[in-house]
């Protein structure tokens, strides 16, 4: 049985607690990195991370890119979308096709 985690700054992720996801607040890049490692080694198949937090630890996230678990999915935080999620899709298109064909 797998679980779903949400990590990022406290205010952005509080709402997800209400619907039963496990939330793990983390603020500094080091905290976030440690949190991701911990969650990945536990039973979390999906980890939602706020884009603000994802921006700080992008190299850590790319370590999990080619594994089936966990899926680390950036979602916009309270401060709005940074376009990281969209650019992640674009980079995987670029990886496969060679050029970015999505507009």
């Amino acid at each position: 049985m797998y679980k779903i985690a949400v990590t990022g700054d406290y205010d952005s992720i509080l709402g997800f607690k209400a619907i039963g996801l496990d939330v793990f607040p983390a603020d500094t890049p080091d905290e976030i990195r440690a949190m991701l490692r911990r969650l990945a080694s536990e039973n979390y198949a999906i980890i939602y991370i706020t884009e603000q937090a994802a921006a700080a630890v992008s190299e850590e996230i790319s370590r999990y890119k080619d594994r089936i678990t966990p899926a680390i999915i950036p979602i916009p935080g309270k401060e709005g979308s940074l376009g990281i999620g969209v650019s992640a899709i674009k980079s995987s298109v670029e990886r496969a096709v060679g050029i970015d064909i999505l507009k």
Binding site: I4, L14, I19, G20, I46, I68, G77, I89, V93
Partner: protein, 213 residues
């Protein structure tokens, strides 16, 4: 390639060239199909991400609204013990030999029948609607995770396959062809050398018999 120009080597190389050509064709077909699937998934992924992002922002603003009329402590307290728990089941789908995750989730409510984890006394209506927005979001979030992971796994596989196709097409197969040509030439040359030598010997033998007579 450095090989001995022998007939045996030639046969061996011809076999390898055949295998390589067939492998190249198969891999190319695989890559084409992967690409087709990938583009489908990625388009869907893009659409879904835009939608989910908009809705997450909607949820954030709902919570901001709720936190504006409530104290942060009160808000934290109200949400501290969720009534709903989510269990995720993970199976995997096979797309052209790439295993991609297939999520199904089950939410469990405790027996009170409401998703709101708090009483109505100390909370406001804004929080209720914020929690409701979040609940609606759940399925979309999961779909997003699924297609996003599938897209990134497929992208990795496509990259790998493309490398293999290119290695076969531009390195291995030309190399085999070149070597086969080299061996054939060498063998032919040996053959010609042999014939000339035989003719020469024959001439010498005829000359010798004439002298003897």
């Amino acid at each position: 390639m450095r090989v001995n120009p022998t007939r045996m080597e030639l046969t061996r190389l011809k076999g390898r060239l055949r295998t390589a050509t067939r492998g190249h064709k198969l891999l190319k077909d695989k890559n084409d199909e992967l690409m087709k699937q990938f583009l489908e998934i990625v388009r869907e992924n893009m659409r879904k991400r835009r939608e989910v992002e908009a809705r997450v922002l909607e949820m954030h603003s709902a919570f901001t609204l709720a936190s504006a009329v409530m104290s942060p402590e009160g808000l934290g307290q109200a949400l501290m013990l969720p009534k709903q728990s989510v269990e995720l089941e993970l199976s995997s789908k096979n797309i052209m030999g790439v295993r991609v995750p297939d999520y199904t989730f089950r939410t469990k409510l405790d027996d009170s029948g409401s998703v709101l984890p708090y009483g109505f006394a100390s909370t406001t209506g804004e929080l209720d609607s914020a929690v409701e927005t979040a609940t609606d979001l759940m399925k979309d979030l999961l779909d997003l995770a699924q297609s996003e992971k599938a897209a990134s796994l497929l992208a990795a596989e496509i990259e790998k396959t493309r490398r293999r196709v290119n290695a076969l097409e531009y390195v291995l197969i030309p190399q085999y062809r070149e070597t086969i040509r080299y061996i054939t030439m060498k063998l032919d040359e040996n053959e010609r050398g042999n014939i000339t030598r035989l003719m020469k010997v024959k001439d010498m033998m005829i000359a010798q018999t004439r002298e003897d007579n």
